[in-house]
Subunit: 325 residues, 2 copies
Amino acid sequence: MDKQNKNGTLVSFRPGIKVVDCTMRDGGLVNNFGFSDEFVKALYQANIKAGVDYMEFGYKASREIFDESEFGKWKFSKEEDLRAIVGDNDSNLKISVMADAGRTNYREDIIPKSESVIDMIRVATYIHQIPTAIHMIEDAKEKGYEVTVNVMAASKIPDESLFDGLWLLAKSNVDVIYLVDSFGSFYPEQISRLTAKYQELAEGKEIGFHGHNNQQLAFANTIEACRLGVNYLDASVSGMGRGSGNCHMEALLSFLRNPNYQLFPILKFVEDHMIKLRQEGWQWGYDIAYLLTGVLNNHPSSAIKFGKDKRVDYHRFYQELLEMD
Amino acid sequence: MDKQNKNGTLVSFRPGIKVVDCTMRDGGLVNNFGFSDEFVKALYQANIKAGVDYMEFGYKASREIFDESEFGKWKFSKEEDLRAIVGDNDSNLKISVMADAGRTNYREDIIPKSESVIDMIRVATYIHQIPTAIHMIEDAKEKGYEVTVNVMAASKIPDESLFDGLWLLAKSNVDVIYLVDSFGSFYPEQISRLTAKYQELAEGKEIGFHGHNNQQLAFANTIEACRLGVNYLDASVSGMGRGSGNCHMEALLSFLRNPNYQLFPILKFVEDHMIKLRQEGWQWGYDIAYLLTGVLNNHPSSAIKFGKDKRVDYHRFYQELLEMD
């Protein structure tokens, strides 16, 4: 009973939970970060009204590696672009950006927190980049930010390496370590096992979860992690995110019982802005092609291409995937 | 370890599992049972090739209550119509039909098993009809059928009544008792609690699970039930079923490790037949409107109407639902 109370029940709530909106960051991978200012301002206001804790605006990608003319501005999330939307962000909504290990000019592009409206830097790393990620973490901590680390593609990492990586990150100053289901291949019972491992190895750190909806399990995996004590929960409006997308914000806010969370502003935002994005032809969300890459624990790129090519020959696609293995 | 082995793991499989295709029965509620013979024959062949255990063709609805001219033939699933598709059903695929308590002329319309190609009668009952359901169960057992009972809308039944009903059913000759999430309102942790209760109260019976996808949890709830020992698992191709639909057959077969199950024939069937149904305008599957009725544990009828009226004002719909309460 103690544990159940600590973790909240289906009637009560756990105050430590933080909801992170990643519509623009993961969704930016769908539309190449081409969100209109009107969209971004409306999402910012909707998140404030909904009581969402963090809004991730995009990436802090290196302008030495990526050509600015080829992407919308939220690939780079410059300070002046952020301020054009949020001013000094006089609200309870915190602002985060993602910084990819090896693809961020972090020493220069991440300025001291005292000069920035950004509250949280989310370092994204593959397992072979952990030492780089730790440099980035310590750099951002010294500059005054909250810092999380997303260990990507966890479903592809052998236990020994994963646990070694978690042990290194646990010794760093990072605030939150994320379990990330990049390929949408985890089942809830695997989330359960890994959550316990993350909690054990990173004792004293908060744990987060970021899911993908390949098998229609992003929400299920998120609430499974939540039930076990994971406090940082990623979601995006209407699940907008690469490929099959993410946990739907509408579902997550419906599930959480904290009275600070309000579903209405998100529903209104969907009506006013998300439906239009769909009509413009941007595609994301569950499809059999994503199910198949998820089941096979593959990167979704081939399924994204399948969709863009307007193919529906699922059985041939499945054959192709099996032959790739 | 013993329990884990008994229940199968993510690598092994549990031989007792039975997959029940309810595409035509629950999906018939979408298109008024108007499936073409070509569709039905192709689904029958696909299910045989896929190793699916049971195919539910439709209802055995009373022709005294329902006017035959108003429905497709699978509302009534007459013996001659079944035989026109399956002949003597010379296959390993078993055939089932659903019989609603209070809406089936079961004494006459369910003929002796020796004269029928039907293998299994699925009695569907609300909690207030349990004595009627038990009469139907005993009638069908005496006639020689396998018999299951679906206790519908379990999420609306107080524990005391539900457990009383299960106790009565446990004393009957029914083979399988189904936990049914009619409104798509259950979370996996509730499935876990109820599965244990069904198993305890109906010791010696098989347990089944039938989910709805209002909260994108039909597959998650199905594999949660499966993990805990539930052997009869309902799914439909592309989730076709009333409102938000059911557990997707594609996802379920991908998950199960029994080599007798084949995904390819189902993928081929989707390409050749399901896409066409969508193009004809039939609607089912996840939508925010279904999420909202699911969260509120309401019948999906208002969300179905919302979709048919081509409404997208989700926040007003949510207000309407809250005012209905």
